[in-house]
Symmetry: C2
Subunit: 161 residues, 2 copies
């Protein structure tokens, strides 16, 4: 069963203004990533304006979803590796060092799901592989290298997702 608290909702306030996943950015996408059966899951619902051509989702929006899904996944995988629960106030924060995206097929302009797998979990670096699933097909594959932020400063108040 998908856990009810998104990792992004555990980020400290200072890290919660991100246009992609910040719960305090009312203009942003507010992307939410959950731990699920050893992997991570992020749902994303594109706006009608997020079109590429025809009825396909714009690649930059897909890249945005993958970016925040990957940083969130890195935090989830790192916490699992280090014995911290998803709701821990000591949730670490990761930033993207490298993002590789293969657009295998056009992605329909409708809700899609990202599934993340941990390829590597080190003390300060996590590598996440992601598949974008749309209509039960994989249209995009990605690999991200995430680096742990050394000083996450003050932690905000945890809020349920």
């Amino acid at each position: 069963m998908v856990q009810k608290i998104a990792v992004q909702d555990m980020y400290p306030d200072d890290f919660s203004h991100c246009y992609g996943c910040g719960r305090l950015n009312s203009a942003g996408h507010q992307i939410k990533t959950f731990a699920h059966n050893g992997q991570t899951v992020t749902g994303f619902e594109p706006d009608p304006a997020h079109i590429a051509t025809d009825d396909f989702t714009y690649g930059g929006i897909i890249a945005s979803a993958i970016d925040c899904h990957s940083t969130g996944s890195a935090a989830i995988f790192w916490m699992r590796e280090n014995g911290l629960g998803i709701g821990s106030p000591a949730a670490p924060r990761f930033v993207t060092a490298r993002l590789e995206i293969d657009f295998i097929a056009p992605t329909p302009l409708e809700p899609f799901t990202l599934i993340g797998t941990a390829d590597e979990v080190a003390a300060r670096k996590v590598v996440v592989s992601t598949q974008l699933q749309s209509r039960e097909a994989t249209t995009v594959r990605a690999r991200a290298v995430l680096v742990k932020v050394a000083d996450p400063r003050a932690f905000g108040t945890p809020r349920p997702g």
Copy 2:
């Protein structure tokens, strides 16, 4: 001198709804890419909401800018290779097959410039390398593989950039 017509303004109407660079998408970024001294140049002005953390630009927005800059650059480089002027109504259209982005340093939340270089120009494939310049420093490097769309269908009315 930078040419006055952005390659995106030569795209046919059917390809001008893109959230990143479509001139017909009023909600989108309307990214414009120009030929310049054998390279390509795209300026981008992030909104205040396009924040990552602190005063830095969100990676997904940077990826979006690079995506459309790269497809536009591919068209420019392909036209140059094939002896077509930037204003040609036969402007080809490219889509992104692979995108690699290295975030070297945080990018300030202020206007930045993308500079594109042609690494490879083949009949149906173009490879573009890009540097993001902010405050005269390179904060992001990217490489994109673009594939030519076989049938660009009807061409729209060219509009000056």
